[in-house]
Symmetry: C2
Subunit: 124 residues, 2 copies
């Protein structure tokens, strides 16, 4: 449930501007401000059912955009690769600090360059 | 004109799947296969005016998505930063090869880590 809300928040960040103004407002209260359906209903003075329906419809819309475009998944994949690369750079840092052999350092650099190339391919 | 077509091709790669089937087909012939309006008109057996109108409307749609989402610009910016980083890694490679002082190598590593952090922020 919690993970699903995070995922919805990500979709909202990515594609939220394609929702209607009302959908954008209600879904923002739900997944950014983390209000309950009851709280949103009270805040906006609309029925709980209307809140529920709007969230359901908005979710469907956002998921539809991701199914078609897949850009969130592309971005997440880039993030993961960059995080891996930061680990590689940390290893290189340690290797230089401990006077590792030049050949080993250059091998590590090669790996880093390959990883960067992969990131670049993913942004095409 | 040529640059505009490249830009349109990028928008098409990014958001093309949100076009109607017909728009997708015609714009693909125009900016991926690089056919002229006359050629598309002949190929699909529709009037040149219809081709022109469809391309114009499709362009507007794609630009509208980018104005709202800005994801192409986000991706391009990531690409530029990754390319800069590849240059930095090349410099580091040369520096290690020419037995540059450890402190200088570590400084370079720090810069690279900072640049990776920037890339990560850009993918949020």
């Amino acid at each position: 449930m919690f993970e699903e809300k995070i995922r919805l928040g990500n979709l909202y960040d990515f594609y939220g501007s394609l929702l209607t103004k009302k959908q954008y407002e209600i879904l923002g209260l739900y997944c950014v401000d983390d209000l309950s359906l009851g709280e949103i209903s009270e805040n906006l003075n609309i029925s709980r059912q209307a809140v529920y329906d709007t969230i359901k419809r908005s979710k469907k819309t956002l998921k539809g955009y991701e199914e078609k475009l897949g850009l969130l998944s592309k971005f997440s994949s880039t993030r993961d690769k960059v995080n891996d690369l930061i680990d590689n750079i940390d290893s290189l840092n340690i290797a230089i600090n401990s006077d590792e052999k030049k050949d080993n350092l250059l091998d590590e650099i090669e790996r880093i360059k390959k990883a960067l190339g992969d990131i670049l391919d993913g942004t095409l």
